[in-house]
């Protein structure tokens, strides 16, 4: 009885230290930490010992060795005299290229299809539904094969290329586009684009202030677009057209000159974009449906047009629902880009495998892959978290 009184009182019973929850907590955490350290220690020792015993070279010194192989696509200068390290950087850039272009396209297509599924037009809504259901339910690897083997491989050879407008060609070696070669005076173009952006931002601030003060609405989108396109175009002609166009031409084997987009990149890019877009479409649809109907009704009753209701009331609220799942789709797309290996696109995994095979340094190359994909994923989710925080409901 006496003990019960003590327990219910303000002072807890002074039990043995074995039963002290605080002590127990610390004790078990220490045990787990020690076990993990011992496990890692054992693994490192075991690996080092086995590598040494099997006479397998280890360490990252191989990155400075001459690679000896060529790559089909590179964003930076690369030849077979470059190092393995540079080859891996080329692979990383190729991975990022397909990931970034894929994310942009998937987002645009996904938003269009997602909104399309909500359309009151029966045909548009059904087409969008079929698109989503088809692409969402096929493994991404098959989508890549579909584009590579089903669409791009069956195109005619270089001699029977499909002629496209503006001197472009399409054949089973890729898409050949004219390339613009800028003269020295072309520096004015980027400058004019920068000037256009600054002007648009300035006009935007002015328009918002004017609207706050007088309530008059400025047609910002149209004016902005006109400045963004018009200023660089006018500058281009004022500077005396400082650019020439190199057209692709047929040579012995292939089409030369111009700007080539290889079928390996094209199939991977298209597959990843259209596959991921089907998921983004569903996320967008869920986001828009997640905004209660009362919100748009309230906006209409205030006299806002349907378009302005969508832009000012529905989309900002829908974005809060859309962004978090969108982040994981972006991460998925980046990671799925490693399927490049199936069609021979020189991404980080493909070049890593070649490096692994030429040097035999499997553990090091796998470590590099893991660190790089982890880094890319953390960067993407870091950016998306920042954007999400910016978009979150500002509570007053």
């Amino acid at each position: 009885m006496a003990s019960q009184t003590q327990v219910s009182g303000a002072e807890p019973a002074r039990a043995s230290w074995i039963n002290d929850p605080k002590f127990r907590g610390i004790f078990f955490q220490l045990v787990v930490a020690a076990a993990i350290i011992a496990f890692v220690w054992w693994i490192v020792g075991n690996t080092t010992e086995n590598l040494r015993r099997a006479n397998i070279a280890s360490g990252f010194g191989f990155l400075n060795g001459r690679s000896g192989f060529d790559l089909s696509q590179s964003l930076i200068a690369y030849s077979s005299n470059s190092t393995f390290g540079r080859a891996l950087v080329v692979g990383l850039l190729n991975t990022m290229l397909v990931a970034v272009t894929g994310i942009i396209t998937a987002t645009i297509v996904g938003f269009i299809v997602g909104i399309g599924r909500l359309s009151k037009n029966w045909l548009i809504a059904r087409i969008c539904t079929v698109y989503v259901e088809v692409f969402r339910n096929i493994p991404p690897l098959l989508v890549i094969f579909f584009w590579y083997l089903g669409v791009l491989s069956v195109l005619p050879g270089p001699r029977d290329s499909v002629d496209l407008p503006l001197g472009s060609y399409l054949n089973n070696r890729g898409l050949f586009l004219p390339r613009v070669i800028w003269d020295q005076a072309a520096w004015v173009i980027p400058v004019s684009i920068a000037a256009a952006i600054i002007a648009i931002v300035a006009i935007g601030i002015w328009a918002r202030r004017r609207q706050a003060a007088t309530g008059r609405i400025f047609p910002m989108f149209r004016v902005g677009l006109a400045i963004f396109i018009g200023l660089p175009v006018i500058t281009y002609f004022l500077a005396g057209s400082p650019a020439t166009v190199e057209l692709p031409e047929l040579s012995t084997f292939n089409i030369r000159g111009g700007w080539t987009i290889r079928p390996e990149f094209l199939s991977l890019y298209l597959a990843l974009s259209f596959y991921t877009a089907s998921f983004i479409a569903e996320i967008v649809r869920a986001g828009v449906l997640g905004v209660s109907k009362g919100q748009s009704e309230a906006a209409y009753s205030l006299g806002l047009s349907p378009r302005r209701t969508l832009r000012l009331v529905v989309v900002p609220q829908a974005l809060r629902i859309i962004i978090p799942p969108l982040t994981s789709q972006y991460l998925n797309l980046t990671k799925n880009s490693s399927l490049a290996i199936a069609v021979g696109y020189a991404d980080l995994v493909a070049i890593g495998q070649t490096t692994m095979n030429q040097t035999g340094q499997a553990i090091e190359v796998v470590a590099i892959w893991m660190v790089v994909y982890l880094g890319l994923s953390l960067l993407t989710s870091g950016f998306m978290n920042w954007y999400n925080a910016k978009m979150a409901l500002v509570e007053r």
Binding site: N50, L51, N81, V154, F253, G360, I363, V371
Partner: protein, 342 residues
């Protein structure tokens, strides 16, 4: 940071390595009851499943020869198909005991991959194949500047290709795949103008194309590709078993011992034949290797001598019809030469 990662990954990669790295391969093979042999995923004439679903070919028969030497049974082989990039890891990790897969012997492979080549069973060189209907004017590899070339990644072929085009100031556009099948499919679909690999591989591949007559192998051989079986480093006993199995096959051809005349040869008066077939009194021909004294007899009975294996799979008696060339016996002006078995 690096050490930690190496450790974590190492745990996964080398978990099997504890037993694999031990120098007891022969005992492990004997207790497992079969030789785990890494072969090509499907290269006609070298290693490919036949109509009956059995692995057949020059490299597959070498696996059988080693199994015959160890067990007296050429079928005591577990075939493990490996692609170009995973073959060395499979050997390092102990997944296979023997790699018999058109693998070129190079310095860096010998010194950094933890493996040892047990000899050369095929002297090869790298060549190019083109579709002569699509490219009728091309009759030399030196005319290939600007071509798209299909090549399998992780091979010495890929490196020789880069060196050859650089040395001749020619440009090319590599189209690189991991798998043999993907590379072939890309070539057949017209993704590339030329296909490059070892000449033996080109002849084998050509047979599997839809219209073999449309494709020609260009005359240039741009590299030396000595192909041979490889084993893990650090196990001299197993290394000896594999190495001498190959020499026994070559020596048997030199002595004229074949699958057909084996029974007669067992009663031969020729002391050299009696010695290698273990017919001498108190023969110790298998002792040093940890094998029975009739190990050579078993090899010949199960697969035949080097010449028979060559003819049956890739030589005159096969659709590939590759000439012996460098692979003739040294007595016929070739390079195949066995160390004396005594």
């Amino acid at each position: 940071m690096n050490k930690l990662l190496v450790g974590i990954l190492g745990g996964a990669v080398m978990a099997l390595g504890v037993s694999a790295a031990s120098a007891q391969t022969l005992n492990d093979v004997k207790s497992a009851g079969s030789v785990k042999c890494g072969v090509h995923t499907g290269l006609a004439g070298f290693a490919a499943p036949n109509d009956a679903g059995e692995w057949a070919g020059f490299d597959a028969d070498f696996c059988r020869a080693v199994a015959a030497a160890v067990f007296g049974d050429g079928e005591a082989v577990t075939f493990v198909p490996t692609n170009a990039t995973e073959r060395f890891t499979a050997l390092q990790s102990g997944e296979i005991d023997l790699l018999s897969r058109n693998t070129t012997w190079t310095l860096s492979r010998d010194t950094t991959l933890g493996l040892t080549f047990a000899g050369v069973n095929y002297y090869d060189g790298q060549g190019f194949m083109i579709n002569s209907t699509a490219l009728p004017d091309i009759n030399s590899a030196l005319q290939l500047s600007g071509a798209a070339v299909c090549v399998q990644s992780g091979t010495t072929t890929e490196l020789n290709l880069a060196d050859y085009f650089a040395a001749n100031n020619m440009e090319y556009n590599p189209v690189v795949f991991q798998g043999f099948e993907e590379t072939n499919a890309a070539y057949e679909a017209g993704r590339c103008d030329a296909y490059t690999t070892d000449a033996s591989g080109l002849y084998a591949l050509r047979l599997t194309l839809a219209n073999p007559d449309e494709h020609v192998v260009l005359p240039e051989i741009i590299s030396k590709e000595p192909l041979g079986p490889a084993v893990r480093q650090g196990d001299d006993q197993w290394f000896n078993v594999v190495k001498w199995s190959l020499y026994a096959m070559i020596q048997a051809e030199e002595l004229g011992v074949t699958q057909d005349n084996l029974e007669e040869m067992l009663n031969s008066e020729n002391p050299e034949i009696r010695r290698i077939l273990g017919q001498e009194d108190d023969s110790t021909i298998g002792e040093g290797l940890g094998l029975e004294n009739d190990w050579v007899v078993n090899i010949i009975r199960e697969v035949g001598n080097y010449g028979e294996v060559f003819d049956r799979n890739i030589g005159a008696g096969s659709p590939l019809a590759i000439a012996r060339g460098l692979n003739a016996l040294w007595t016929d002006g070739g390079l195949q030469y066995a160390m004396p078995i005594r």
